[in-house]
Every structure is written in structure tokens, then in C-alpha cells.
């Protein structure tokens, strides 16, 4: 069987890029609370930002499988899910603009973002609720050929650095997505993990937006959730794989009572269980991803994929910290960062409970 995910050249490129351009600086970016704009330009130069976007809009071509390979390889080479969130926010901010097809918007927002010159974000969640997307309160009132937007968005990834926000708003004609520039960053939020990824509260006060900036409605929004959820699922099993790798190296090295940890049956069985969960998650998520990449509209399986991968990740990062002992609790230990970063996975992009609601609905209950 040909492995669609093999892609040795792409993996090589991403591994080299991660080791040279990301790993040496990640600690600094975690402390700074954000990644520098320069990183976006560098990633764009080698084509990483444009992967999965068609060449007609300034992308590099390639499909969902290529994007997944990039995500896997960044994390498994020493990057992190937080880094992915920060550097690839355009993966959730741009697809709606691309799908809308407006040349002017593509030239002004999509191309420069894929060149690493602009940063975009996706603003859906509000202080009053995130899971209930239909309950959005930010309003856009039509005024001639403009909308006047008022409201607040919370937990917006890359919001503090963003030049524009693809924003979900309520209009007289239902929920719409608008590309908006004139918002204010009211707060940068401090978090448990994902420290290198800035998260912001955005305020919109009488922001005037041309009506031409409309790039779809609730269906567009929901349609692109699949890719976001799959990406998070990939981050989960890649993080788990990385933690397993780090733990394997550690237990071979670490001796207690005169023997390597790896020689203890209890430890060996824990490692086996970690490996099993990683492999099951990877296999299932990749399977769902292949179906989505070939054009199927999957919702339930994507929800199952996310929950499967989140559970595997939660288990493995916890075990990784435990097997590292005291070191695993220190800021310098990579597993400590993954442990904190992993906690968002069952919350962002639709919570585990919301995924289960989707699955239950499919079951007819």
C-alpha cells in the first residue's frame, strides 16, 4: 500500500526548518508570549505558509494531507501545538476568504498573509459563549454599502498581532463572516499553555466595514470546522508521539536502584500503552483526513477523530511527565510544555462535549 503520508522530501524540509528556525527560539517566544513576524516571512519563503492553498490565490498548492504532514513534522521535530496555533492561524482565517472568491479580498488579504507579511485571525467566540455559535451577539448593521459592527470577541488566537479578523457577526440577514480591520485589542490573555501563541480579546465599536468584505455565512463557517478539528486532532497525536519519543529516550537513560527505568515491567507496559494510543489515534485521524481530502463531507467521523486524539494526547502527556519524575515538572523539560499545551485540545475548535453532541445526534438520540 502506498502511504499517502510518507512524503519524505516535505518532511525533510519541515524538519530542517523546525530545527534551525524554531527550536532554538521557542523558549524565548514562550516567554515573550508571541512569535515574531519575521518567522512568518521565513516560513513563507520556503513555502510552508502556502501549503494547502491553491497557487491562484498565492498558495503553494498541495492538499490537506500535505498540511497534516507539516503539522506532524513540526511537532515531532521539537516544535509545539502552540507554535502551530501561532504560525498557522491563517489556516482558519483565510479559507473563507478563498472560498468567497473575491479577487480584491484575495489580493489584499490572502496573498500578503501567505507571503508572511500580514497576520489574520478567526474571531467567532464571544464572552457570552463559544460552543453555541448560533448565539453570537456581535452585530453588523447595514448602512448603505457598509456594515457598522459592534461587539466583543474573546479567546482569539493571534488576535493581538492580527492585521485583520475574519469575524462572525449577526446581521439582519442571519450570521455572516466579515473581514474586518478596524478593531481594538482590549486585552492579551494569559494562559495555562500555548504561551508562544498570543490570545486576545477584541472590541468592535462602530467599526465600518464595506459590504464587499462579506465572505459567507454560517454554512461556510461550519464547513471549515472540519479542517480545523482535524488539524487539532493531528496536533494531538503528534504531540503524543513526541512525548513518547522523549520518554523512551529518558527511560533508557535514567537508572534507579541500579537499573534503567526501561527495564521495569511497569514502565515497559506504560510505554506500550502510550504507543498503542498514539498509533490508534494517528491511524483513525489519518483515515478521516484522507476521506475529507478526497472531498467527502464528514462531520461525525471528524468529531470522533478529534475526541480520540484528544484522549490519547491527554493520557500520553500525563504519563510522559510522570515517567520524567521531578524533571517532568520543570519549565526546561519539553514534556512539561506539551503537558500544559495539551489541555486546550479538548476545549478549542469545539469542546469534547460538543463533539459528543455531534456524534449523539448522528446516533439519532
Amino acid at each position: 500500500m502506498i502511504d499517502a503520508f510518507a512524503k519524505p522530501e516535505l518532511r525533510d524540509l519541515v524538519r530542517n526548518f523546525t530545527r534551525r528556525e524554531i527550536v532554538p527560539h521557542l523558549g524565548d517566544w514562550e516567554r515573550a508570549g508571541e512569535v515574531p513576524r519575521d518567522l512568518h516571512r521565513r516560513a513563507a519563503e520556503v513555502g510552508l505558509l502556502g501549503i494547502g492553498f491553491p497557487e491562484e490565490v498565492g498558495g503553494e498548492g498541495g492538499d490537506l494531507i500535505d498540511s497534516i504532514v507539516v503539522t506532524e513534522e513540526i511537532i515531532q521535530s521539537g516544535g509545539s501545538s502552540g507554535l502551530i496555533a501561532a504560525l498557522f492561524t491563517h489556516g482558519i482565517a483565510l479559507p473563507h476568504i478563498v472560498a468567497g472568491g473575491d479577487r480584491d479580498l484575495i489580493d489584499r488579504f490572502v496573498r500578503p498573509t501567505l507571503r508572511g507579511e500580514l497576520i489574520g485571525c478567526l474571531a467567532v467566540t464571544e464572552p457570552d459563549g463559544g460552543s453555541d455559535v448560533a448565539g453570537i451577539r456581535t452585530t453588523a448593521r447595514a448602512d448603505g454599502d457598509q456594515y457598522i459592527v459592534n461587539g466583543t470577541k474573546l479567546f482569539i488566537t493571534s488576535g493581538a498581532r492580527a492585521d485583520f479578523a475574519t469575524t462572525a457577526v449577526r446581521t439582519g440577514d442571519g450570521l455572516k463572516l466579515l473581514v474586518i480591520q478596524g478593531f481594538t485589542v482590549t486585552r492579551t490573555l494569559e494562559k495555562m499553555g500555548w504561551h508562544c501563541s498570543d490570545t486576545a480579546e477584541l472590541s468592535f465599536v462602530d467599526v465600518r466595514v464595506p459590504r464587499g468584505h462579506e465572505v459567507g455565512g454560517i454554512h461556510t463557517l461550519l464547513a471549515h470546522f472540519a479542517a480545523e478539528r482535524l488539524s487539532l486532532a493531528v496536533q494531538c497525536y503528534a504531540t503524543a508521539q513526541r512525548c513518547l519519543d522523549l520518554t523512551l529516550a529518558w527511560v533508557r537513560d535514567r537508572h534507579t536502584f541500579g537499573r534503567p527505568l526501561a527495564s521495569r515491567q511497569l514502565v515497559r507496559h506504560r510505554l506500550a500503552e502510550m504507543a498503542r494510543q498514539v498509533d490508534v489515534a494517528r491511524t483513525y485521524v489519518r483515515h478521516a483526513a484522507r476521506r475529507v481530502a478526497s472531498g467527502e463531507l464528514l462531520v461525525t467521523e471528524v468529531a470522533m477523530a478529534k475526541n480520540t486524539a484528544v484522549a490519547a494526547c491527554d493520557h500520553v502527556v500525563d504519563q510522559a511527565v510522570q515517567l520524567h519524575g521531578g524533571l517532568g515538572y520543570l519549565r526546561d523539560a519539553e514534556v512539561e510544555r506539551h503537558y500544559r499545551d495539551a489541555r486546550i485540545m479538548g476545549i478549542g475548535g469545539g469542546t469534547t462535549e460538543i463533539m459528543n453532541e455531534i456524534i449523539a445526534k448522528q446516533l439519532g438520540v
Partner: protein, 259 residues
Amino acid sequence: MKIVVLVKQVPDSGADRNLRSDDNTVDRASASNVINEMDEYAIEEALRLQEAHGGEVVILTVGPDRATESIRKALSMGPDSAVHVVDDALHGSCAVATSKVLAAAIAQQGADLVICGAESTDGRVQVLPHMIAERLGIAALTGARKLTVDGTSLTIERQTDEGYEVVTASTPALVSVWDTINDPRYPSFKGIMAAKKKPLQTLSLGDLGIAAGEVGFDGATSTVVEHSKRPPRQAGNKIDAGDDGGSKLVEYLASEKFV
């Protein structure tokens, strides 16, 4: 200007490397193979020249079938095409024989400029650039840390232990480079996709007019008789920080000519 860049596939110097127990040649089958590191600098230099002066960049590799991986990787950095000399009779070739094959292939290409790495990380003999230039009757500008091209005139800064020498020649010529010369680019995603479609010509010894007996074990001018693993690293000298610790340390450093 037509630039031919020599690219060799070598076992990854960061991983475990071995010679084969049956015939004392480099074990390429079980190793994880990569582009010889110095060759990436040669490719980069060729691409920069092409960007500045136009022309064509061709990759040339002598090696087994699996060297194709490295050729595709080299092409993904940007060169236009590649030539791969592959022939079972090449197995066991010495540097002299390899230089004959490379020189024949370069001559067939009609290269104005040949760029290669100053050494390969497996053999490390550093003689191929000179041998090839000698066979072709062209100038060898070796060990460059800088290369400038002005029409048909080439100038390099030749890296030495003490500093550098300025050496000039005119094309056709061969330049070998050290890793101080540039910072090789990453192959881009588009480059990776494009590399799959770039022309890759495969040549046999017959295509180059070379007889099997001139290369391989039969044609070798040197033979590896036996080999053994490097002895394991010895534990270092430990100097205790006692009363005379300082002077003992200085003595040791002086004896090793560090101070």
C-alpha cells in the same frame, strides 16, 4: 553559462556509519543516506550564479540506484536537470576511477563551470576536484570560501589555515567550495513538487565510453585490505581541584599545545 554541480550521496555523518565486512566498501544499504553536506553549498553557489548571470544548472551524480533520492532532493533546491551515472560495475571504484567517470560525464555535458564540495563526509580524501580538473585540462580553483564571476573570469578566495589566497582563472574551470561560502537554501514546497517532474538522465558506463574493467574493484588503484572500528573513546584525564590542581591543568594544556 552551463554549470555542472557534483552531488554525492553519503551515509548521514550524524548517524552510525560502517564499512561492509564482505568487501570493505562503504555500507550504503543499511545507512540513512543524505546529500554530502558540502555539496549543498556547491548547489547553492551554482543557483546564486544562475540567478545573477542566467544559464543552466545540472546536477551530476555517480552512485547506485538509491542515489536518486538525493538527486531529487538536490533538484528540489532549484537546478534544472540531473544526470545520474549508475552501473553495477562501478561498485568498489577508487577515487582515480571515479574521477574518470565524472570527467567523462562533464565533458559530455559541455560544462563551462563545475562546482563541487571540497570533500565528501564519507571518503574525505579531497582529491577528486584536482583529479577531474587534471583529466579535463581545466583550471582547478579549490577550497573556495568566496566565488565571483565576471564574464568568463573567475576569482575565488581560497581558504587556508592562516587566512585566504586570491586565485583567478577563466572558464572552463572547476571550483570546489567549503561550507563558509554561503548559506544553502531550503528546498521550497514548490521546489519539491517541481523536482518530481525535472529531467533526470540515467547513463551507463557504456554511454560514457568507459569499459567496466577500468573502474570498480578491477580498475582500482588502491585497495582497502582490512578495516576495524575506531577504538571506543577513552575516559578523559581528570584533574582534582586540589592544591596543585591549577598548575596541573596548565601543564596538561601546555602539553597538548592548547596554551
